[in-house]
Symmetry: C2
Subunit: 393 residues, 2 copies
């Protein structure tokens, strides 16, 4: 006996209910979900198949694999063409307006589903799913807190992992090992297909200034042009910083956390920029209240940077990132985004990774990243660990 639904009935109803309110407001009669991250959100597990969510009432689970799943409304199908008959057998008529994951599912998959529901109109369901998932439930928050505790524990080991003469890659492999032993699942979920990363990034020296194709805050050449981001295999040199931004996915929900280490004396400019990042976090902890606009928070950070004359290093030097924070949970690129043109307004239950960072040419990257839960009283930090630059020698 292997229950499909691994959430409590109350938790499943809460998540579904939030989605259904948004669906009714947008005029959707149902949505059909097939993305792994969204299925995990709805059921507490990843399976191959679909979740059919009507605007009112229970979900129907349309499963291809694994075998042997049981529970209320669990129906096995061979192919999507079976879905309408299965829904009819559950007493559900074809929807007039059906939401599909236009931004995630392939063109072939979406057009195939459109053929299956050939009397329906179709809307993009991704906006609703992203909006619902941007407000975490208490159960999701407890998983994020658990990831944060383990994430902080892993980072405590970093100074002991360093040995003089090491490359950035060797240090990263040491951190990966501790992280995996601590229970990190390894997998780094990013919505969409254009961004890829393996467990995180360790950046030192001039490699921190290498532009990357991906929409991450920082760059790095990587070990190969097939994955051009992060550590490049060069020795960690004296007078350099080492920025560690490794995955915190211990529960299916991940925290994001960056800390900086140094080898020997580093420049005053680098120290000043690091302090500026910490100050931006302090500002955020005071100002990031429900109802505040994300773009306002971005501008307040920019002002702090400008006062210190650090603009040309902020969020990169040869290439600049266009945001300083992002929602996080099952995936690393959730809502809201803290960016100049963001229209987001902070809500209770948002979880945001704030990463005001700088690239100091020659020295490396500095700045910290914390994951914050937005409460009515302000942000709760899920990654509480020392924020100063920690000397490795």
């Amino acid at each position: 006996m292997n229950q499909l639904l691994l959430l409590s009935p109350e938790e499943a109803a809460l998540r579904r209910g939030n989605l259904q309110s948004l669906m009714r407001a947008k005029g959707l009669d149902a949505m059909l979900v097939c993305d792994n991250a969204n299925l995990f959100y709805l059921s507490g597990r990843v399976f191959a198949g679909y979740a059919y969510i009507p605007a009112e009432g229970d979900a129907v689970w349309l499963v291809r694999r694994p075998v042997e799943l049981t529970g209320s409304n669990v129906c096995y199908i061979h192919k999507p063409e079976n879905i309408p008959d299965v829904l009819l057998s559950q007493g559900l008529a074809a929807p007039d307006v059906l939401g599909l994951e236009f931004d995630i599912a392939s063109y072939s998959m979406v057009t195939r589903l459109m053929g299956v529901f050939d009397g329906s109109r179709f809307e993009n369901a991704n906006g609703i799913l992203r909006a619902a998932r941007s407000v975490k439930t208490a159960v999701e928050l407890s998983m994020l807190r658990e990831s944060g505790v383990k994430h902080v524990e892993v980072y405590r080991h970093i100074p002991a992992l360093y040995e003089p003469g090491m490359t950035d890659h060797e240090l990263q492999v040491g951190i990966e090992r501790v992280s995996r032993i601590e229970g990190c699942l390894g997998v780094f979920r990013i919505s969409g297909q254009s961004m890829e990363l393996f467990m995180g990034s360790v950046l030192t020296g001039k490699n921190a200034d290498e532009p990357t194709p991906y929409d991450f805050a920082m760059g790095g050449a990587g070990l190969s042009p097939t994955l051009p981001v992060g550590a490049c295999g060069e020795e960690i040199k004296e007078h350099s910083t080492v920025m560690v931004d490794m995955s915190g996915n211990f529960t299916g929900y991940m925290t994001d956390m960056t800390r900086v280490f140094s080898v020997g004396e580093i420049s005053d400019e680098a120290r000043k920029a690091h302090q500026c990042s910490i100050e931006i976090c302090r500002m955020f902890e005071k100002e990031a209240l429900p109802g505040v606009e994300a773009s306002t928070l971005y501008r307040m950070a920019e002002d702090i940077v400008a006062e210190r004359g650090l603009e040309r290093y902020f969020m990169g030097h040869r290439q600049h990132a266009s945001f300083i924070g992002h929602g996080i949970g099952i995936e690393v690129n959730e809502l809201p985004v803290i960016a100049p043109r963001s229209r987001a307004v902070l809500e209770v239950g948002n979880v945001i990774a704030l990463e005001p960072k700088f690239v100091i040419p020659g020295t490396g990257a500095v700045g910290i990243e914390n994951t914050y839960h937005i409460t009515a009283d302000g942000p709760e930090c899920l990654t509480p660990a020392p924020e100063e630059i920690i000397s490795l020698v």
Copy 2:
């Protein structure tokens, strides 16, 4: 100066030329490619943007990120709506028939591109790309061979990594570390979005019989229902097998290789099934010649299994996989597939991971996997390593 094109001009022309022959045969005037794996194939690097391949002539590289790339036909764009003007400036008229990656790109992306090329007709380009990539060039083969050599080297360390009382997860983390130190890039590329895996799988005892949602040959419960595949954190017990199927991505091209280890005496049934897998590989090495149908090879394997009365354990026990081999290269699920209903006919230059495996309830999984290059004289094994079950104690 950072050249976009990291392939030699001859190699780039060879890959493009193969695609262009297929495009002309299908009546495509051009294709627009945005998938990371396909961009890596065409240029030797991953970048954010598009490759525009006309049916005749040079590629045009339409780049969003990283900054500072140079070379012939490298054009920076902000958004896809800029593409037609850029193509005009390169002397290229709008195509009558444009190929797009229907099976990979999201519905939103494809419909946006259809709007950009509003006078064109559109075809699915994925079949052409998959067909071209299924026949490896000499340069690709040399990268696969390099991955194979390192992959074999990593597996040599496995007996020394085992300690009595270890869990499957702890052994896997040890292998991951050796693999990463040896230069494994970690990232495990799978085309499409429904399959996920972190670096590979270590299966022991009854966990080998846990069904998974994914279309892999073997299952396992995993550490979490968010990634239900592979090691589950249970102790490796006496009278069990340990099947190791870890990633061999050292060059952007990956080999696939499975070997089996044992702790204490294991059942005769398990030993017999393992020998059967080795015999199927021997059969494949003799029979897998250019011109042979993939479905014929599948049936020959099935016959060997049936002669030994092992059908109920073949390719799983509670849940069965529907293939015994798959193309491999930049991604793990390339063409051709060795399956009963496959229409593929083997060609010189195919690279195929053959994995005839068995799940013996109570004991674990047995069987091997090798990656083979199909030559005119038969398969060349890229993963030559001892194939017998290796005792860990």
